[in-house]
Symmetry: C2
Subunit: 432 residues, 2 copies
């Protein structure tokens, strides 16, 4: 049986809610069809209008944001969450600039991925096409509203946004700006929509909107991502948590060990490619650890070590299994002494989230084994883990870092927001 | 929090069942690690042993198959299902030959997809790696057991099989042959496993085995695929049903119209790329339809037409909405007269399963609009729909035809059974 034009949603909410939600998604699907044929010039024009809209609406955005911040303070949001929720003129200007950066990216739509002529004269070409409708569920970070909409529009996708309710007032203004910009560029304003007004039901319905939404990208905490992964019937791209490891091999260059570990942990501890657990070869622990840890402690890092680590570095707090499992996202580091490469890879296999792992070594055989056997999105030799990043990889922008194995793995650029289709051009051929 | 080495399964069955199932999947994960580093020679040697094992075990396979066929007849299986369940010496020999064909395919593992040197001297390379553990849920077609295992092994993946219970005895013998062949080639026999002994619970547990199984590929009816898609927390590759359309445009070449429609419908009606609905431009219906339908009827096709079709071809049965939605997989064809390209594309948008659609036209503008606007895995001009096929596309073998947009779309070859990872080689670089 074919999928009908209005796929059934498996929903608990009232009929009216379902009807209103379905109408929004129907409008998004229609808009997606138009956007899929829009030229790069039209899409870039919409991005320019978004940047202009942000710059021209600073006061409105800040006023709405103040409302969200006041509610947040009343509801006891932490200082960190309130900071993520804040949009001030400087941050709005950064968002406008980031939107204009997307203009400079190559439009992936229409790229021929591969193609050939078949022996019978038929020509086949696999070309990039937009997914259609991209859904995204995220937390109270209103910058994501603009970031993801800009990337979706450039790649020819309509976007349906479900932000955290703590940012509802800010997001409402931002979505108005998106829609006005689309309209000003001659594109369907329904290409960018929010389902925030449906509250938690909105997120639930979005996860079940198979046939309306082509792919769902959760952005936020591991808990949010796990919920989306396990409840969604729409295909999900998992952009994930990073319990990131470095292994200092016996032959590690002492200077590289100090500098790479410090950079991986300290340069920006709150992001997913920051180091969380350091593993050290037992034969090198006594010679390497004192300098490596001293440099970290001087930058304010708290060390959580196993017994062997604490025998060398007495100031370390005792580490438990919980430390091996934790993505601190703070100036904390778990440290463990291992018997060698095999035990290091066992530890990584047990606790890694398959994001990024790096070995510091001068042993060719160990480097090659690590590259081959560690099953993560990025596997490194003698490099800071902070390089797993779309910008650093030369993608220009980053949709997220995929820690799953399907469709995309590692930093995702614009091409990862597309699918493909096969164009088949014949002249009457039939199959024998 | 990190995924631990033994992810929790969300299960209803008894603790003993879960433990036995988990032990199997743990063994598959361990085997997958070995298989991911196996050389092409080793994997090809296993394929050779499988072919030899099939040829050397004809009597055992046929005896087990007779048991299944007798049970099936007792349980009232249809003649068609009993035929699909049957393995006789000729079919077993075909399976052995198909396995040897896989030896000749290029091993996708290790292929560099893209790579570059970053400005700071770091070298990054994206290379193909196996998924790890591929799960498959299919119906009582024992040939799938060998087909999918051969493709999985060649692409370096362990495979966990859940076949239809009606083929349980046959599959048990086939899995023994697979495991003996793996062992003879020096590979871990746990690389190919069945969970048939867990019955329906086995399928349910497999769909929930996130963290153990990297991707799940359902093979079979639309109902089976829909169940897997909606119940699985493991990422699914949907290989799908085909409600395939041809649109005869006003300018269609009459000879091409007759021959392409006939070939698309009649050459092999039981497969997913066979034609199911013919749409005809109203201005060409009177001139084209009589010859097109006469040729079909001469080959035994039953026509289900709308009113306009029946006005031209009185022998047509009346078509209802159900006909537009149905994948007949038989010598039946739905026919509808439309006002032009737009109505044809509306019909396709409403009823297509996004597999294959073809336009027969001599109008360049209409051809380009059809190619651009129809959202299917394969969109064709003046070609039989039967060409949407891995073999025809030059892939050598076919895992299935993906009708989803994530990861793979259209015919899937061996590379579509792999993921990638980024290898990052530095010399002490840190991020500024």
């Amino acid at each position: 049986m074919a999928e009908s034009s209005s796929p059934a949603l498996e929903l608990a909410p009232s009929d009216d809610t379902v009807a209103a939600f379905t109408a929004k998604l129907d409008a998004a699907r229609t808009a997606a069809r138009g956007l899929s044929s829009a030229t790069t010039n039209q899409k870039d024009s919409a991005l320019g209008e978004i940047a202009a809209g942000l710059r021209g609406s600073m006061e409105r955005i800040v006023a709405a944001n103040h409302l969200d911040l006041a509610n947040g303070a009343k509801n006891g949001l932490s200082a960190g969450l309130l900071d993520r929720l804040t949009l001030n003129p400087a941050r709005i200007e950064s968002l406008a600039e980031a939107t204009l950066d997307v203009v400079r990216l190559v439009d992936p739509v229409g790229e021929t991925v591969r193609g050939r002529s078949l022996p019978n004269g038929i020509r086949i070409d696999e070309v990039r096409v937009p997914f259609g409708v991209v859904g995204t569920i995220y937390e109270a970070r209103p910058n994501v509203t603009i970031d993801i909409a800009a990337l979706a529009i450039k790649s020819g996708n309509a976007v349906v946004l479900r932000g955290g309710s703590a940012a509802e007032n800010t997001n409402a203004v931002l979505v108005e700006i998106l829609q006005s910009a689309l309209e000003a560029a001659g594109l369907d304003p329904a290409s960018a929509q929010t389902v925030d007004e449906f509250g938690r039901e909105g997120a639930r319905m979005l996860m079940r909107a198979r046939g309306y939404v082509d792919v769902l990208i959760p952005r936020g905490s591991a808990a949010l991502i796990n919920t989306v992964v396990s409840e969604s019937t729409v295909p999900v791209i998992e952009t994930g948590a990073g319990v990131v490891h470095i292994f200092l091999d016996e032959s590690a260059d002492p200077h590289w060990a100090v500098e790479i570990v410090h950079n991986s942990k300290v340069q920006r501890p709150s992001v997913c490619n920051a180091l969380e657990t350091l593993l050290v070869h037992e034969a090198a622990a006594a010679s390497l650890l004192p300098a490596v840890l001293a440099r970290l402690v001087a930058s304010g890092v708290t060390i959580h070590g196993d017994e062997a680590t604490r025998a060398i570095f007495a100031d370390a707090l005792p580490a438990t299994t919980l430390d091996w499992e934790t993505e601190y996202m703070s100036l904390d580091l778990a440290v463990r002494v291992v018997s060698g490469l095999d035990e290091a890879m066992d530890h990584i296999r047990t606790y890694s989230t398959h994001h990024t792992e790096s070995i510091i070594t001068n042993d060719l055989g160990n480097a090659e084994r690590f590259l081959r056997e560690v099953d993560s999105a990025a596997v490194m030799v003698n490099s800071s883990t902070r390089f797993t990043d779309g910008g650093e990889f030369g993608f220009g922008a980053e949709v997220g870092i995929s820690t799953q194995k399907l469709h995309a793995r590692g930093p995702m650029g614009l091409p990862e927001l597309t699918s493909t289709k096969w164009l088949v051009r014949g002249s009457g051929q039939v199959r024998a």
